[in-house]
């Protein structure tokens, strides 16, 4: 197993290399540069040129690429032109925010989707099933920002149950219980919004897997052993139906850092999704390229993680 994992990491190197070239070329094609936004009638063109020279933007393309790669390996992803801080610390801050939000969201998604999927599959075509399927379709059809705005209006503005922006209460002291509670408190509304809308795939998957599993021969065997139906579900059907979801878990875990632009924007929550879109708008190269490289790496890592998880839960799949 360790061998395979090591090999998969080795294979990632050329994959990431190709990705880096693509990103670099795309960045080159983007119109303008960080300084074009600074130009006003008052700026001295020579000063701009000087800045360009200083930033290395006048070097030959391959030299720029090389410097970028070398710096990246040293952990230096450059500075954000818009936020005036190093990209590493920027992504560190935002990433942590997003991580908390995603963890809570994904937890809520599973908490809602798994029981609903199981009930829908077990009582197929019943009223319960039809209600759940209806919910999952409606939630699939509602755009995030619509529900987000409704929730902000109702729970944040009208009822004042939840804060409507930020990540924590500035008055609480770091390290106190109140401080952590305020973090969770700020997370709740965006996480609930995400969870209510993000359950469709898991409900549908689980429902159809359970319906399939019920018809499998091993379920017949289990029933012919005289096992009560409840136990047949918990011991035989449920676990086997979770396989496809387990297969996706790796991507879900690495996807935790992705963030959601809409949720973060609506709830004024500074996270990765918003950072990504904002930096594209601002042509903040170093942030964009770093984020894409990071997402590329996470996707590859996610597929490896998924394979490892699957090999743990499904004895038929062994990676050597």
């Amino acid at each position: 197993m360790w061998k395979t994992i090591a090999r998969r990491f080795l294979i990632m190197i050329p994959q990431l290399f190709v990705l880096s070239i693509f990103i670099f070329i795309l960045a080159q094609f983007m119109p303008g540069d960080p300084f074009s936004g600074l130009i006003t009638p008052q700026t001295d063109p020579n000063r701009i040129e000087e800045l360009r020279e200083l930033a290395g933007l006048n070097d030959p393309v391959y030299v720029q690429y090389w410097n970028w790669i070398v710096n990246m390996f040293q952990g230096d992803f450059g500075d954000s032109y818009t936020f005036k801080v190093s990209v590493a610390s920027l992504i560190g801050d935002r990433g942590l925010n997003t991580l908390w939000l995603s963890l809570l969201s994904v937890f809520l998604v599973y908490l809602i989707a798994i029981p609903l999927g199981v009930i829908a599959g077990r009582y197929q075509n019943s009223l319960k099933d039809k209600t759940i399927v209806l919910y999952s379709f409606i939630s699939y059809a509602i755009p995030t920002f619509v529900l987000g705005l409704i929730f902000v209006y109702v729970f944040g503005y009208k009822l004042q149950w939840f804060p409507t922006s930020g990540t924590k209460d500035v008055e609480e002291k770091a390290g106190t219980l109140g401080y952590y509670w305020s973090i969770i408190y700020h997370l709740l509304l965006p996480a609930i919004t995400y969870a209510v809308l993000g359950t469709t795939a898991i409900i549908q998957y689980l429902r159809s897997e359970i319906i399939d599993a019920q018809l499998q021969d091993y379920v017949k065997t289990a029933r012919s052993k005289g096992i009560p139906m409840k136990k047949v579900y918990s011991r035989h059907i449920f676990r086997n139906s979770l396989l496809p979801i387990a297969a996706f878990l790796g991507f879900t875990i690495t996807g935790l850092l992705g963030g959601s632009f809409f949720i973060e924007t609506i709830f004024g929550y500074p996270g990765m999704g918003k950072l990504f879109i904002d930096s594209i708008m601002a042509r903040d190269y170093s942030v964009i390229t770093t984020l894409i490289m990071l997402y590329g790496f996470l996707t590859l890592l996610g597929s490896l993680l998924s394979d490892i998880i699957l090999s743990i839960v499904d004895p038929r799949i062994r990676i050597e």
């Binding site: 499998q216 021969d217 091993y218 017949k220 065997t221 289990a222 029933r223 012919s224 052993k225 005289g226 096992i227 009560p228 139906m229 136990k231 011991r235 035989h236 676990r239 086997n240 396989l243 839960v313 499904d314 004895p315 038929r316």
Partner: protein, 348 residues
């Protein structure tokens, strides 16, 4: 000499009826109407007996088998009639009471052991499950019993196999494991639904021998569902032939193979490639088995497939008639039956 010995032995051993099926009817719902897949079947099974149920696909033999343990979905299946076991009618039992019989008094063996075993559960755990629900053994005793069972079904290294998963075993080993599950609680009845169809012939022979050996130890009655008349001839004591949901002939195994009466039985036997008739043409049965929805409920169900036999030779509402002790044949058409092209009346 061995033949008569065997017959004698059969008569001796088959005395106690352990299962009695009366007028069993299993109907499936297809587009809001019910169709009878098993149509008024009456049978009995004795202790230590192998009762084979043969027929081609779609004749209702597997439905019959699963009806006995009530494995059908009650939402689209109707079962009526009586299945008498140990003084109670299985058809009328509640799910909880049925569960006390399933796996405990009646063991079930399925056709394809690969799909019939849970791929995610260790072999040992799958056998132990039966013991957990039906016996008072504690965990250690159960584990010990699992190893005994694996040993009993001829698995060389029980300790290792108990820890393995089904995909790690060969087809023959898997079927042995299925048998171990079926016999875990020493059932009085074993139902084997095409237990060797998915296996190679040498493995098939081993599995059939194993079933008979286990029967000799436990005195269980076996209902063997199969389409393979060769397998029937090798292991059965009594044979019921099914066609279109009905039993059309039932007899002891010698009687059925040496003195078959119903046109369907005779045609089936003649369609088997045999050494004695190597160069001859095989018997072909005209037409096809009627599908459930197109089945005519009146008259002899086999008559459309022997159109050269005059309609008047069939009974209006064909019944099973006992033509010699223990030999039942449905309809009267067998008396005047001859193969297409042959001269008629030879069997009168």
């Amino acid at each position: 000499m061995k033949t008569s010995e065997e017959v004698l032995a059969n008569n001796l051993k088959s005395s106690n009826e352990i299962l009695k099926i009366n007028h069993l009817r299993t109907s499936f719902r297809i587009k809001d109407s019910y169709y009878d897949a098993v149509d008024d079947v009456s049978l009995s099974l004795k202790e230590n007996e192998v009762l084979a149920i043969v027929g081609e696909s779609g004749c209702g033999k597997s439905t019959l088998a699963t009806s006995i343990v009530g494995l059908h979905n009650p939402l689209n299946t109707k079962v009526t009639g009586e299945i008498l076991y140990n003084g109670s009618n299985i058809v009328k039992l509640k799910e909880d009471d049925l569960n006390k019989i399933r796996g405990n008094d009646i063991g079930f063996i399925f056709q394809d052991p690969l799909s019939a075993l849970n791929p995610l559960m260790r072999i040992g755990d799958q056998i132990e499950e039966s013991l957990f629900f039906h016996t008072k053994l504690d965990e250690q005793q159960r584990k010990k019993r699992v190893l005994e069972l694996l040993d009993q079904v001829g698995i060389i290294n029980p300790k290792r196999v108990a820890r393995q998963f089904s995909h790690q075993l060969s087809g023959g080993m898997r079927q042995r494991v299925m048998i171990a599950i079926a016999i875990a609680c020493k059932p009085k009845i074993m139902i084997a639904d095409e237990p060797t169809t998915a296996l190679d012939v040498t493995i098939q022979a081993q599995i059939l021998d194993l079933l008979l050996d286990l029967q000799a130890e436990t005195n269980a009655g076996i209902i063997l569902i199969t389409h393979d008349l060769g397998v029937v001839a090798e292991v059965a004591d009594r044979v019921a032939v099914m066609y279109a949901g009905q039993i059309i002939e039932i007899a002891s195994v010698q009687e059925l193979f040496n003195n078959p009466k119903h046109p369907y039985t005779r045609s089936l036997l003649n369609s088997i490639p045999q050494v004695e008739r190597e160069s001859e043409k095989l018997e072909v049965i005209q037409g096809i088995v009627p599908t459930l929805t197109k089945l005519s409920k009146h008259g002899c169900r086999f008559s459309p497939r022997i159109p050269w036999i005059d309609e008047s030779k069939h009974e209006k509402e064909p019944q099973l008639h006992e033509i010699s002790p223990g030999h039942f044949v449905r309809c009267t058409c067998w008396k005047n039956f001859h193969f297409d092209g042959e001269k008629g009346g030879s069997h009168l």
